[in-house]
Amino acid sequence: MKTNIQIRMENLWFYYHDRVILEDIHAEIEKNAITAISGPSGQGKSTFLMILNRLWENIDGAKVKGKVEIDFGKGFEDVYHESYPVHQLRRRVGMVFQTPNPLPMSIYKNIAFPLTLMGEKNQATLSHRVETALKKAFLWDEVKDRLLENAETLSGGQQQRLCIARALVPEPDILLLDEPTSSLDEASIRVIEALLLELKKSCTIILVSHYMDQIGRIADHRLVLSERKLRPAPDKARDIQNRIEK
């Protein structure tokens, strides 16, 4: 069991000003699996994701205490250590937001953007990787003839798949998704669910969702966040307990 854990959180507390948002979280997240987090709104599910890529550091008055360790293939590393470069962490831990957030530029440039940030200038490499990412996100066929159009002209579902494709370009080990389907129609939701099932072969996926049916369809593990605590979902509790004991 222990060999398959990729993320370990111990004794983790999150504060906003002097208010406790997350209290003494202990969690272990399995590699190449979909872990779903559900729970009432406004209880810190998004915050939980932002702890993993340290995006909360942009929030004024937020504070984290505790330990987060991630195994990127070289053993567990403390990603909150002073010397740990946050930009590198965010390339390895991709994130997709609740509302699709394409940048105000062409579809092509959006997908190539992470590579631009890394200083990649070779056009052949760029276009190859843009194509690969769009194919992975099941979006290539729909946009291959309009790559130079502004990404904001795409439909909501397409925009969200664009954002997933963009998050995949740096080849992250972990993908965080914050209610990625909450603003989409049924057909788009199915496409994205199929996509996530495919992606977990190469990626560890943590998904915040409040659709129980969605969680039932695709999640390997379920966690519930409520009243500042993260607990295994009731019906799967014993299942996980068994795993830990093994």
Binding site: D60, H87, F97, L103, P104
Partner: protein, 283 residues
């Protein structure tokens, strides 16, 4: 539409029409006042000859050059500093310090221009004189530095406002992809904010061109074509103020209205030029 709606609509329409009209009326007023000397030959004379009323030469070209030099240079000095300040205030946001700086900058707008002039005369001018060991220190460089300081609050406040209007979702996207702060500025913030920044630049440039006191107190007021940053120069505004204070109804006095029109035109051209940039650029 009920009465109240109609009332307010016409009230606001009237207010905006009035302020637009004032702009036009000022131009008409000046043209009217210089009608007596408004002949083509004479305009050519005014725009090309040197200023030497004793010899019957009333050219304002040196003042035009002085105005453009000082206004442009002050913008060049102020732009990078203001960009850095507003970036510090809006994007880096070091705990509490950003807001404090913004408050200070807002306070700067309330300082009377003449105070800047004092500081310039007693601190900056001697400093420049000693550093360069040349002339009186009352020169284009001193005036531009002081004027740069004077217009920086306009730039900083406009830049900050444009930066803060960049949607958080764009910033999150760059952050989540591991972009550095500088990449965020270069790839997302500047492309999104530059239109608002341009408005700030236009206003600041207008302010720099229109400011009278700084130039009057610090630039030395010599009526010569400027040839180096350490030369004294006179701006159109200072020229108008100087003649106006000492003269009435002479030829020099009548020339002032032409100076006014030229100043008006130069500012308008500046604005139209930046508007043109705005339209050509990508959305």
């Amino acid at each position: 539409m009920d009465f109240q709606d109609r009332f307010f609509r016409s009230l606001f329409l009237g207010a905006s029409a009035l302020s637009a009209l004032v702009t036009v009326a000022v131009l008409c007023f000046m043209v009217l006042l210089c009608l007596p000397v408004l002949k083509l030959d004479f305009i050519r004379h005014v725009l090309t000859a040197p200023w030497s009323p004793g010899q019957g030469q009333f050219g304002i070209l040196p003042m035009m050059a002085g105005t453009i030099c000082i206004a442009f240079l002050s913008l060049v000095i102020s732009f990078p500093i203001s960009l850095g300040c507003s970036f510090f205030i809006e994007i880096l946001k070091p705990k509490g310090k950003g807001n404090l700086l913004k408050k200070l900058v807002q306070f700067m707008t309330a300082i009377p221009t003449v105070i800047y002039g004092f500081v310039g005369v007693f601190l900056l001018v001697p400093f420049i004189r000693e550093i360069f060991a040349y002339g009186s220190g009352m020169c284009i460089l001193s005036a531009s530095l002081m004027l740069g300081l004077l217009i920086s609050p306009t730039l900083i406040l406009f830049f900050s406002q444009s930066f803060s209007r960049v949607p958080q979702s764009y910033l999150n996207a760059v952050d989540a992809l591991g972009g550095t702060t500088w990449q965020k500025l270069y790839h997302v913030i500047l492309p999104h904010a530059w239109k608002g920044m341009l408005t700030g630049i236009v206003l600041a440039f207008g302010r720099a061109m229109g400011d009278t006191l700084i130039a009057l107190m610090i630039s030395g007021n010599a009526v010569v074509m400027p040839s180096s940053l350490l030369d004294s120069a006179r701006t159109l505004t200072a020229h108008i103020a100087l003649i106006f204070a000492a003269d009435f109804d002479s030829m020099e006095f009548k020339i002032l209205f032409i100076s006014g029109i030229v100043l008006y035109m130069m500012t308008s051209l500046g604005i139209l030029f930046t508007r043109g940039l705005d339209r050509k650029g990508p959305a």
